[in-house]
Symmetry: C2
């Protein structure tokens, strides 16, 4: 029996190509002799590509990407000081455009403190939660504008758009994931005492969907309080569901407390499977260390595990995770002298 | 010589009255024999008051509050389970209404890890920064709405409003505060790669005002990255300037890393002095421990130091801070068995 797995690869900018090279090797090795026929197609996109061509995400590329089973993505973004590239252009016109066009409504970000990995917290306890971040609406919609720009009377607005459709589907997904986990607990994070209109939509969605999952308990935290618990008692979290912006903030904090965003994987998932999902490390393109083999490819490699789960190959996903877990347990984080590809090779050796 | 200091006191709900009682004692003691003629007027406002009268913040009360030199505020908010009070009503119609009506555009929140206070971070380093949070606009303006409420086609919006007037005045205030500090460094926190319109207004304000303060260096962080540095290297911060919502989130996190929001003070300051400023602990009303003398009054007491600074009595402010510093250094946080008023009394003893 042989099934084909047709993956689009977008290495992107900065450390993206380096970490994706390792993730690709892992995908190749883990699928050997499994009957999975892995096909990889590279797409050049990102800040570098924009400088060369003026293209962010051409329609033909978007159409071509749609034909794949999944997308593996590195990172995009120019160096902060690079004034040739309008700030945020690539992030919005390419990365966010992919998430929105391909309806990646579940932005899945697991946070786990692996044995042997030091946390910056004095008493981290056991950390093992997932954040289900809404990926297609909220303050990320790009609605807003400027009036009287550049004058003393300038007014700039940003509009957060939240729909019953968008909120309910991600809340249901989060309940489903909570139901599949041993602790079966869901925490809604928002700021409904201030953002009344959006906040109440989120709360009502949780209350409306909760009866479908009678075994799942749920609670609520304001986003400010959530950052406190993330610091003082992260073990309290099992599944967090939250909006696009709060999810962005909390998952960087979650990455920090679990040993750094060098380990944080993510999936931009279209659970309706009307378009391919996209898997990427949470970290950015880190132009300051690009091309030096200094980046940790672990987050990119763990993102392939999320990819394998999504395409229905959970045994392979568990093998990747186990190999990573073995490698990180043996690291001395302070003095790990290994290059990006040495770390990749070590994880591959553990896979075999 | 005698000058009068005419303070409005709003104890509020939950632990508010307990912690404010201690803060008031501190104000009374620190002003003794200083020629300051302290006059205190109590105002009953908050969730309890709403249950009794249906009033949130009557016009007459607002007018009366305007006649004071400053306001000392405890905390408001009903117990989370109390369904008699519409969620967030008191927070919005009273607390936020005060901040907006009295034009408290500088929401000042210092974060300092006092010697002897344990941080939840493994290697906190020296933490001594202030957050200048914008207090009168951003996503807090209450603009937004709901269409097709309760139907599958519901749409809820939240509008963040940012003005050149509002942003420039708070950025200038933050630069001024940075200029007065030894390290003279300002960090703008925003998310301009996604929130383009508001983000660019903030960035342009910083660039426009920077030349007025040639000794102050400045940098920029996205809010998600700021939560990482807050965890891994909080010493990098000196003065942070940010919008209303990001400031809300970051200052709770900042409270957590400096030993808990039991120590975090804040000032809602009208720097133009067209209305009285208001000083309050960052923490909430904590209904679960209310009335049990379990609350730590330190944040409320440190808020009186900010108040004394604002009304032009910095020597008294330093005395309050020194007394607090002495007390916290001698605490065993894990086993501190003291009641709210015992802590207050100890700080007062140190003042004498
Ligand atoms: C690069 C940026 C647009 C992106 C986001 O804000 O979602 C990033 O921070 C992330 O979390 O994936
Ligand atoms: C109670 C609430 C409205 C308030 C805020 O969000 O500003 C509080 O969290 C704070 O930080 O003072």
């Amino acid at each position: 029996m042989s099934e084909s797995l047709n993956i689009a690869v977008i290495p992107g900018d900065g450390i993206g190509p380096e970490v994706i090279a390792e993730a690709v090797k892992v995908l190749q090795v883990v699928t050997v002799n499994t009957g999975v026929n892995l096909k990889l197609t590279n797409y050049k996109l990102g800040a570098e590509h924009w400088l060369e061509t003026g293209e962010t995400l051409p329609e033909e590329t978007l159409t071509a990407l749609r034909s794949h089973d999944a997308i593996l993505f590195g990172a995009v973004g120019a160096a902060p000081g690079d004034t040739r590239i309008p700030s945020g252009l690539i992030e919005r016109e390419m990365l966010l455009k992919l998430r929105f066009s391909l309806d990646h409504f579940v932005n899945l970000r697991p946070s786990k403190l692996y044995p042997g990995v030091p946390s910056p917290l004095a008493n981290p306890g056991e950390i093992d939660f997932i954040v289900v971040r809404e990926g297609t609406e909220g303050p990320y919609v790009g609605n807003g504008g400027v009036l009287r720009a550049g004058t003393p009377h300038e007014i700039a607005t940003e509009v957060s758009i939240n729909t019953a459709h968008g909120v309910e589907r991600v809340v249901r997904d989060a309940f489903r994931r909570a139901n599949d986990r041993p602790r079966k607990h869901l925490t809604l994070v928002h700021k409904h005492n201030v953002l009344v209109f959006a906040g109440h939509l989120w709360r009502r969605a949780v209350e409306a969907i909760a009866p479908e999952f009678p075994e799942v308990t749920h609670d609520y935290l304001h986003v400010d309080a959530a950052t406190i618990f993330m610091t003082t008692n992260p073990s309290r979290f099992d599944v967090i569901v939250t909006d696009n912006l709060f999810g962005d903030i909390l998952t960087d904090q979650a990455g920090a407390i679990t040993g750094g965003i060098g380990l944080a994987a993510s999936g931009n998932i279209n659970m309706d499977r009307t378009a391919p999902s996209m898997f990427e490390p949470v970290h950015g393109s880190a132009p300051d260390i690009a091309g030096q083999q200094k980046a940790d490819p672990t987050a990119a490699i763990l993102s392939t595990a999320l990819l394998l789960d999504h395409v229905g190959l959970p045994e392979l996903a568990r093998r990747v995770e186990a190999a990573v877990e073995g490698d990180v347990a043996s690291r001395d984080e302070m003095t790990d002298p290994r290059t990006t590809s040495e770390i990749g090779d070590a994880i591959i050796a553990a896979l075999a």
